[in-house]
Amino acid sequence: MSVSAYQAPARADAAVIFDGVSKHFPGSGKSDGFTALDNVSLSVGRGSITGIIGRSGAGKSTLIRLVNGLEKPTGGKVLVDGVDVGALDEAGLRELRRSVGMIFQHFNLLSSRTVFDNVALPLEIAGMNKSAIEKRVRPLLDLVGLADKHGRYPSELSGGQKQRIGIARALSTEPKLLLSDEATSALDPETTQSILELLKRINADLGLTVLLITHEMEVVKAVTSDVAVIDHGRIVERGHTFDVFTHPKHETTRAMLSGLPGSKLPDAVSRALKPQAVAGDRAVVRLTFFGAAAERPLISQLIKSVGAEVNIIAGTIDEIGGRPYGSLVVAYRADAETAGRAERFFTENGLVTEVLGYVA
């Protein structure tokens, strides 16, 4: 599947639509103000896990807050299930927010409430009676695996447990959409994985649409089916996660991807890398393979076609959006003959290649 084949979800299938959305924060006094979002259009497919990734200050926090009306756009429209969020009054917004769950980087649990009472809070706010709340909260605590902690206080829980409570709380009003604001950024890698697993499970079991923002490519890779890359308030790239990861188009995307383990070259190599080859140099090439290619004995075939002089410099085999994917950085002699043989081999096997540079 190529990137150009990517179709934005049709309007009827979209849980959230950003339609030419801008957000400008007015300056105070002498300062000019700040444009956080500039004409952003994006749709979030119903039932998908869509990631929005960007560096800090790229505008992603503002973007996600437009969905439940915590921020109002200064231009364009945000539609949630076809409802124009900007046109809602306060009462309408409260109604909407009760159907949209949200989880936060710092969990935002009430320290004065027990685990049970934290999960119950949105239901209390919605005016549900005690026995109905009890019936709703118990299964949620089971779902997030913390039923035994119901009487504990947040200060007695680990970060991962707190986020599980945050998730249970966000699900208590049975929302159709879950917003995740850097939900794993304060957690260690292992806990991050377990929280992401939970989000995946919720998405699959409850058919919940998840819109998450993050600055971590790992998170996008692990759970999202679709991704948008945001930079300086603009969407610079979007598509199925697999396509964006395997064929990154925009500079920002590439830069963010290069931080992933397995994508990064060893320091000694990246320092020695030159843009032009001189006689005797070796070419450093990144091969990206997926689908059928991932299952063939590529290395031995490559060595046979190119000659014995193939070094493996870095490599990773991984899964993106549930599809196997491999990335291999190899070096071979940069003379015309070897390079020609290598290129033929790559073309025949449908490999995506990128020449990173040359080393002596």
Partner: protein, 221 residues
């Protein structure tokens, strides 16, 4: 020390407690909501009213910076209007209450401002009304700090109540001035001071204990 004096000290202690309790209660009931208003009515906050916030803030500051002894004298006409007299325990409650209101207001404001803004955002994201946020989030989360604030108020009031003694307000301060100072009875003065110290200790310990019980932020069971 004669039984008569001891009886007087007992009576004065009760007077002091009465003044502190009455002024503390009324002052907190009025000052508390003002404090909540000050903490939530800035630009972009729950009940945005920046102009009113400024004005209320100015009035509170003015009241806070008026020396208590001057406040007592300055509002005598108002005190007379309310209680029909300007001396005695009942009359003293009026300036004590007036002084308590801005004091409590600032303490409550500070207690509420301490609360992580993320909690307010989370509550908004749940669809809470501003009033629900005040009661279910702000006041609940600030309970330990509010308990400390009320404790501080009570302790300050015990000190202030002794000061109204200087202008015929009744209570321990009054007794200390009239007997201990004016009649040269240092033993009476000493007892008065000891009773005041004990009162403050009891109030402070009770307040600290309550605040600790309410504080769930980082206690391991």
């Amino acid at each position: 020390m004669s039984p008569d004096i001891l009886l007087k000290i007992w009576g004065a202690t009760l007077d002091t407690l009465y003044m502190v309790a009455a002024a503390g209660l009324i002052g907190s009931l009025i000052g508390g909501p003002i404090g909540i208003f000050l903490a939530t009515s800035g630009k972009g906050e729950l009940f945005p009213a920046p102009m009113t916030n400024r004005i209320v803030g100015l009035i509170v500051n003015a009241a806070r910076s008026t020396p208590f002894i001057i406040l007592v004298v300055a509002i005598i006409p108002f005190t007379r209007l309310l209680t029909g007299t300007s001396i005695g325990t009942k009359a003293a409650i009026v300036p004590l209450t007036i002084a308590t209101i801005p004091f409590v207001a600032r303490l409550v404001e500070a207690a509420i401002r301490e609360i992580d803004k993320g909690l307010i955002e989370a509550a908004r994201a749940m669809g809470a009304t501003p009033m629900q946020i005040v009661f279910k989030v702000l006041l609940a989360e600030a309970r330990p700090a509010l308990t400390m604030a009320l404790t501080m108020t009570a302790v300050s009031l015990i000190g202030y109540s002794a000061m109204v003694g200087a202008v015929g307000g009744g209570g321990l301060g009054d007794l200390g001035i009239r007997y201990g100072y004016q009649r040269f009875m240092p033993d009476v003065m000493l007892v008065v001071v000891i009773v005041l110290i004990v009162l403050v200790q009891i109030v402070q310990s009770a307040g600290d204990g309550l605040a600790r019980r309410f504080d769930r932020r980082s206690r391991k069971n």
